[in-house]
């Protein structure tokens, strides 16, 4: 900024005159280092006073901005209370989803053998039942069949009760969606608030120092490059769009096929 202004002047004033140079040499030859230094600084200050003023202003602005930022009571709350609180919420969400998954899987484990038992008892009955339906059954077999059906009806009624109870368990285990959803919502609003503050902070600084931040796309491209060899877990929609990440199992299969699998 400063040097441009100087260049734009049509006839630039000399930055140092012959007399001043001779004066400097005189001091130095006389061993008067301190006087020489002072004279030199005076010359520099005279020709480029803006630099010093600019640095001074910048330092003051920076100091004020940092003070404002650090003394913002909202920020203290965020750092001291809300971020630890958010971490706590996120940990709780892991616990809740884990509990819900376990509860559901327990219910599934309880139901599977019952379903198998129903299938087995029907398959046991089927041959004799078929004969009855085709009229190829004698009185003795008919009595046996009646007893078998009676037993099956009784156990199936109990089993159906158990199934219904376990299905209710699975139903109730889904309440985690509502509860964790509310917690995630709170964390999102905190993150958004911090993001807004940071953006304001960045804008203030770029005004002061003339820094031009890289565009979002540039930074995103860099981030993707940085994360090339990191494990990132489940893919986000934005990653899928960039093409670095496959979007589904078909893409995986195609990629592997192209490698000779």
């Amino acid at each position: 900024m400063v040097s441009q202004d100087m260049e734009n002047e049509k006839q630039p004033k000399p930055k140092i005159t012959l007399e001043e140079a001779q004066e400097l040499v005189m001091y130095l030859e006389a061993g008067m280092q301190e006087e020489a230094d002072n004279r030199f600084l005076a010359i520099v200050r005279r020709t480029e006073p803006n630099v010093f003023q600019e640095v001074g202003n910048l330092t003051r602005d920076l100091h004020t901005a940092i003070c404002n930022f650090a003394e913002d009571p909202r920020l203290r709350d965020i750092a001291d209370i809300e971020i630890p609180d958010a971490s706590e919420r996120l940990r709780y969400i892991i616990q809740m989803t884990d509990k819900a998954a376990t509860r559901t899987l327990d219910a599934v484990d309880a139901c599977k053998p019952i379903a198998q038992e129903v299938i087995n008892s029907i398959e046991n009955l089927m041959p004799m039942w078929d004969r009855l339906m085709h009229g190829h059954i004698d009185r003795f077999e008919f009595v046996t069949l009646c007893h078998q059906i009676d037993e099956m009806l009784n156990t199936t009624r109990d089993n159906a009760n158990t199934l219904s109870h376990q299905l209710n368990e699975i139903l109730m285990a889904q309440d985690y969606q509502d509860l964790t959803g509310q917690m995630i919502q709170k964390v999102i609003s905190l993150v958004t608030e911090i993001e807004d503050d940071l953006v304001k902070f960045l804008i203030t600084f770029s005004e002061i120092s003339g820094i031009k931040p890289k565009s979002r796309d540039e930074r995103l491209a860099e981030k993707i490059e940085d994360e090339r060899h990191e494990l990132t877990g489940p893919a986000l929609e934005s990653q899928k769009e960039s093409g670095v990440v496959v979007s589904n199992q078909d893409d995986v299969d195609d990629l592997l096929a192209s490698l000779g699998f």
Binding site: D98, A101, T102, L105, V108, D109, K112, R228, H229, L231, T232, G233, P234, A235, G243, V244, V245, V246, S247, N248, Q249, V252, L255, L256, L259, F261
Partner: protein, 130 residues
């Protein structure tokens, strides 16, 4: 295919191990065991006569890709089929797993049909080679 084949399921989340175990049971594979990361899986594989490994990628201590490399380096285990079931979906990673000698790659979330399909394909290929 012999349904009594001994399978090791490696995943750090017990929920995912249970899901895979349940799906395998539905497909008729009942001889299944569990490990929670590569470092616990490896000694189990060395000592037990496992015939198939299903592993996650991102796990603490020893990751799935390293387990796969250890298996391929080990003269006793090197021909053991390994199916990777993971949320890691980057092209580079799938290629990395393929180069390390994985037999199949499934991205989470997955379906029972996908698991069956990949298992059948791997067994088909193994049977074809024998």
């Amino acid at each position: 295919m012999n349904k009594n084949i001994k399978i090791l399921i490696v995943d750090d989340f017990s929920t995912m191990r249970r899901i895979i175990r349940n799906l395998l049971r539905d497909l008729g594979y009942n001889n299944t065991f569990e490990a929670d990361d590569g470092s616990t899986a490896l000694p189990m594989l060395e000592d037990g006569d496992y015939e198939f490994v299903i592993t996650d990628w991102n796990m603490p201590v020893m990751q799935g890709i390293d387990l796969l490399r250890e298996i391929r380096k080990n003269p006793k285990l090197k021909s053991l089929p390994v199916l990777m079931v993971t949320a890691e979906a980057k092209r580079d990673q799938i290629i990395e797993a393929a180069k390390a000698g994985v037999n199949g790659y499934i991205v989470k979330p997955f379906t029972a049909a996908t698991l069956k399909d990949k298992l059948d394909k791997i067994f088909e290929r193994i049977d074809g080679e024998q």
